[in-house]
């Protein structure tokens, strides 16, 4: 009987990158359904555009780098990048927004750094930040939740809006974003931010139609709950570990809790923080990117805490209503330091016993 001496790790999952990525986008489905229920079918059109662009850019990069083009699509990482970007941007944004963003994500953020597993920054979020600081108008024009909208938008309207900028009846996006009260509607976080800056109290600021039936704003609360559900599934099947989401939620909610204790009128409560904007999508799907996050479990916890804290800081005092993308990119830069100081001590190699 012969004993084979194999190198570590000895216990490992037999899961390919493709399978992991497939789990990730399966878990996005509840969120996608909720998003298309509340904000219209635009997100599916954006997804198709993003997937097409991602495939073309990935293939072009692989060809330029002298790799097999047919393998470009195999690991499905570009699929996840494309999907996350398509979900993050306003679902009725013009077609070139998602094309520019996805191409930048795949070509500059991923392949310039060396392709899968080599990138420093989260591709989807870097693409998002590029779009946000370059095209602020288009990137903040979120459609109104359908039940609050003055006009309803059909699928053909959606496609028309994305490709030509006008619906079938000739309305442009600004007109379609009118709420039932005839006022252009901002996202809940945006509206809260503006109102708090005008010295309204939180209870006055949330006394609006968009906050009427759900904490965190109509649509947004359910969207966040759906992403939470998908994220819990991912933890259950062990595609992601709980450290990053828990860290991020703690980092966001604990300061929010303290702030709302001490300044109940001027600060947004923890529940509102948790259920609005991109909180859950960020915590479970974006920050958990295995390439750009910290490696050890303790490091992941710190990484998540840092993201949560940055989100809280930027949302509260910063210049933008939501901050997940900026927070993730900033934390990505810190990852090497986190990894250096949280490297677990191998058995027999020093450290205290």
């Amino acid at each position: 009987m012969s004993f084979k001496i194999a190198a570590s790790p000895h216990a490992h999952q037999r899961r390919t990158t493709q399978q992991v990525m497939r789990w990730v986008y399966m878990a996005l489905i509840p969120g996608l359904l909720v998003q298309s229920y509340f904000f219209g079918l635009g997100v599916w059109v954006q997804m198709l555009l993003a997937l097409g662009t991602a495939w073309l850019s990935e293939a072009a990069c692989m060809a330029l780098r002298g790799r097999s083009v047919s393998q470009a699509w195999q690991d499905h990482t570009a699929v996840v990048t494309a999907l996350l970007l398509a979900i993050s941007i306003p679902s009725l944004a013009p077609w070139w927004i998602i094309v520019i963003g996805t191409a930048f994500s795949v070509i500059v953020v991923k392949h310039v750094y060396g392709g899968v597993g080599q990138n420093l920054f989260n591709p989807a979020m870097a693409g998002y930040v590029l779009l946000l600081i370059s095209f602020p108008v288009q990137m903040t024009a979120w459609p109104v939740p359908q039940e609050l909208a003055l006009y309803s938008i059909s699928l053909s309207d959606t496609a028309q809006l994305i490709f030509t900028g006008f619906s079938n009846a000739g309305y442009n996006l600004e007109q379609l974003r009118l709420g039932i009260d005839g006022v252009t509607m901002a996202t809940p976080l945006d509206s809260l931010r503006t109102d708090l800056a005008q010295a309204l109290t939180v209870s006055e600021a949330t006394n609006k139609a968009m906050f009427s039936s759900a904490l965190g704003g109509i649509g947004w609360a359910w969207l966040n709950l759906a992403f939470l559900l998908g994220g819990l599934v991912l933890i259950k099947v062990r595609v992601i570990s709980w450290h990053i989401p828990a860290g991020m939620l703690l980092g966001l909610l604990v300061p929010a809790l303290f702030m709302s204790w001490f300044y109940p009128d001027q600060s947004v409560g923890p529940l509102l923080h948790a259920l609005s904007g991109a909180t859950m999508l960020g915590a479970f799907f974006i920050a958990t990117d295995p390439v750009t996050a910290a490696t050890s479990n303790r490091g992941r916890l710190y990484f998540g805490l840092l993201i949560g804290l940055l989100v809280f800081i930027i949302r509260t005092w910063g210049g933008y209503p939501d901050a997940v993308a900026f927070a993730v990119l900033l934390a990505n830069m810190v990852v090497p330091v986190i990894d250096k100081y949280t490297q677990p001590i191998a058995y027999g190699h020093g450290g205290k016993l």
């Binding site: 520019i100 500059v108 310039v112 590029l130 600081i133 370059s134 095209f135 108008v137 288009q138």
Partner: protein, 249 residues
């Protein structure tokens, strides 16, 4: 030339027994391509990245740097016999600061619009490492004609990269070229403004600082690709057989 030359750049510049013309040719090659201050030495990146949002700004700052570089190289070379080695750096800095002040006051007088557009980056030329680098590495060891030419060609190489970067960023971020050229060249230059592309929504990132870093990275990558391509085209010298012959010829 008692000190050992620094690796890379100084070796090529050492005043070996070239014929004079060849030496100027070599200086040109070094300044424009092989040892370009912006692309290879990566010196003076702060102004390079900060003010290249338009071609006009880039050209203005490039010319200012060029003038300072020529003046400081000339002066440092002329006084090099009398400057004790121990205090050469303070002397160089004072020489450079003098020229920067001259350029700054002249710009304030004659191209006020550009002076305002460039702002703090004109006085900051004094801290530009290209200038003190050339003073230390070249001008303090060579006769004034060569030092002057070195200052010119290095400054010219720097300006070229600035203008290239400014052009790329201006086209992507604004859709124009030579926007605001009248600030530098006088009123007739408004005619220089070229509308390259009409963007409804320009890519603002290109004229923000991150755009400068990204564009600069691509320019350096392009230079490296060209270098690799050229190196691959040069036929490799035939391998000489070094085996000793044992039989008689």
């Amino acid at each position: 030339m008692t000190d050992t030359p620094a690796k890379g750049q100084a070796v090529n510049e050492a005043t070996v027994s070239h014929s004079s013309l060849q030496e100027y040719k070599e200086l040109t090659r070094q300044g424009l391509w092989k040892n370009n201050p912006a692309l290879v030495q990566l010196l003076g990146l702060c102004p390079l990245l900060a003010v290249t949002a338009t071609v006009t700004n880039a050209l203005g700052l490039g010319l200012a740097t060029l003038l300072v570089l020529m003046g400081s190289n000339l002066t440092v070379s002329l006084v090099r016999q009398w400057v004790p080695k121990e205090i050469r750096i303070p002397v160089f800095v004072m020489v450079i600061a003098t020229f920067v002040t001259l350029v700054q006051l002249s710009m304030n007088a004659y191209v006020y619009g550009l002076y305002q557009a460039l702002g703090i980056f004109i006085p900051l030329i004094v801290t530009n490492c290209v200038i003190i680098g050339r003073a230390e590495a070249y001008a303090s060891k060579n006769p004034w004609q060569k030092a002057l030419y070195d200052g010119f060609i290095m400054g010219f190489g720097f300006t070229l990269v600035l203008v290239l970067l400014g052009g790329i960023r201006e086209i992507i971020g604004n859709g124009t070229l030579f926007d605001g050229a009248e600030l530098l060249l006088g009123d007739w230059a408004t005619a220089l403004r070229i509308e390259v592309v009409q963007f409804d929504f320009p890519l603002l990132l290109a004229i923000l600082p991150p755009g400068a870093f990204i564009a600069m990275g691509f320019i350096i990558a392009l230079k490296n690709i060209i270098d690799q391509y050229r190196a691959a085209r040069v036929p490799k010298p035939l391998k000489e057989v070094t085996r000793a012959r044992v039989t008689a010829q």
